[in-house]
C-alpha cells in the first residue's frame, strides 16, 4: 500500500490489518473478533455497532504519521463513540500495557545495585501513580461531564469546561520519554541485559500509543465537545 493512501470503509478489514499490524491492538480493545473473512470495514463496524467514520479516522491516525483528520467526517454523535474508545483504551493500557512494563522493570531492578534500584523503582512507581491519576480524572470527571453535556442534563453551571481539561491535561508521555532516555543512555552499561532491551521496546511502543491517544483526545474529542459547549451558550 502506498504511503499516501488512507483507509476507506470499502476496504476489507483484513487488508487494513495486513497493511499495519499495529491496528490489531485497536481491534482487540474494541472487541472485534478475528475471522472476519472478506467483510469490509463498513460491514464489520455495522456488526459491532461502531461508528465507521470514527474507526477509519482512528486507524488512519495510527498508520499515517502525518495524517490530520478532517473534522467534517465526524459529528457530535461520534462523541459517545470516541469516549467509548478512550475508555476501552485506558482499560487496555491499565490491564495489558503498563503491567507488562512494570513486571519487566521489576525484573530489571533485581539485578541492579542498591542506588540504581531505588532510583528506577521510585521513578517508575511515581510515574505509575501519575498515570493512574490521569486516567482516573478522565474517567470520573471529564467523561461524565461530556456525557451530561451530550445528554442535555447539563445544568449550565459551567464549573468545568473542556478547555480546563486541556489545561489540566498532564503529559504522561513526557516522563515515559525520560525513563526511555535514562534506560538507553544513563543506566550504566554493565547493567545492559536482554530485559533492558525488552523494556525499551515496550516503552517505545507505549510512547507511540500515547501520542496517538492524545491526538485523538485533542484533535477529535476536544473540538467536538467545544462545539457542543458552544451550542449551550
Amino acid at each position: 500500500m502506498s504511503d499516501n493512501t488512507l483507509y476507506s470503509d470499502r476496504m476489507k478489514m483484513a487488508e487494513l490489518v495486513a497493511a499495519d499490524g499495529n491496528l490489531l491492538s485497536i481491534l482487540q480493545r474494541l472487541g472485534i473478533e478475528l475471522g472476519f473473512g472478506e467483510a469490509t470495514v463498513a460491514d464489520v463496524c455495522a456488526r459491532y455497532g461502531l461508528s465507521k467514520s470514527l474507526f477509519l479516522v482512528i486507524c488512519n491516525i495510527y498508520s499515517f504519521r502525518h495524517y490530520a483528520p478532517a473534522m467534517d467526517s465526524l459529528d457530535k454523535n461520534d462523541i459517545v463513540h470516541i469516549i467509548n474508545y478512550l475508555r476501552v483504551s485506558h482499560k487496555y493500557y491499565k490491564e495489558v500495557c503498563f503491567p507488562g512494563i512494570h513486571n519487566k522493570i521489576h525484573k530489571l531492578v533485581e539485578g541492579l545495585d542498591d542506588i540504581n534500584r531505588r532510583l528506577i523503582d521510585k521513578f517508575y512507581d511515581d510515574y505509575d501513580n501519575e498515570v493512574n491519576n490521569h486516567f482516573y480524572f478522565e474517567e470520573n470527571v471529564v467523561f461524565p461531564y461530556i456525557d451530561s453535556l451530550f445528554n442535555a442534563v447539563f445544568a449550565g453551571e459551567n464549573e468545568f469546561s473542556i478547555v480546563k481539561f486541556e489545561e489540566n491535561h498532564s503529559n504522561i508521555g513526557e516522563k515515559l520519554n525520560d525513563l526511555k532516555n535514562i534506560l538507553i543512555k544513563y543506566l550504566p552499561e554493565k547493567y545492559s541485559s536482554p530485559m533492558r532491551f525488552e523494556i525499551l521496546k515496550e516503552i517505545c511502543a507505549m510512547e507511540n500509543e500515547l501520542r496517538k491517544h492524545s491526538l485523538i483526545e485533542n484533535k477529535l474529542l476536544v473540538p467536538l465537545v467545544q462545539n457542543l459547549e458552544n451550542s449551550y451558550e
Binding site: 516522563k175 525520560d178 532516555n181
Partner: protein, 199 residues
Amino acid sequence: MSSSEKYRILLIEPSEIIASGFRAVVSKSTDFEIVNTLSNLSYYTPAQAHCDIIVINPAVINYNERFDIRSYFLSDDEDICIVALTNSGYEENVMRQYDGCINIYDNTARIFQKLHTAIEEAKQSPKNELNELSTRERDILVAVAKGKTNKEIADEYNISVYTVISHRRNISRKLGINSIPGLTVYAIMNKLIDISDFN
C-alpha cells in the same frame, strides 16, 4: 544545489489574500519556488513533506499543540526547515521551534534573506551539536535536581530567571530528559548529587 534547482516551499496559510501575495513575492525569486499551498493542516499529507521549507501561519496550529509543531511534520526528515509567516507576536518558546519568522510587512529582499538564514539555521539543528553539558549547565542541573526553583537558582548565580529557563531547556534537549524527577535520576546516576538528596 545547482542553479536550475530551487528550494521547494510548501505554503500553509488560511488567508487567500496573504497566500497569493506570498506566492507573488516568491515567484520573483531564482532560489525558491512554491510547490503547493494549503489553507489548513487537514489537507496535509506525507507526500507534501517532500519540500525543503514549510512556510506556515502559526495560527493554523491548534493552541494546545503550539509547543510541539515539529511533531506535525517530522518523520525521518529531521532537517526540514519550518518558517513562520505571521503579523502577530507569539511566545518565545513557541517561536524558537521555527527556523525563521517572516513578518507580512517584510519587503521582498528581507523575505529572501530570512528564507536563506532559515535554511542555514535548520542545518545547524541541535542534533548536530556536542551534547556535553557545560559547567554552568551542570551546576543548574544539580540545583534543579535538588528541588530549587528558577527564582532561587537565578538569585544564587546572579542571572535572570529567563537565563535559567534557557539553560534548563538546553539541558533537557541535550539529555533527552524533561521532568524534574528524571533530571534527579540522571544527576544521581552520574554522581552529581548524592542519593540522600533524593526523597
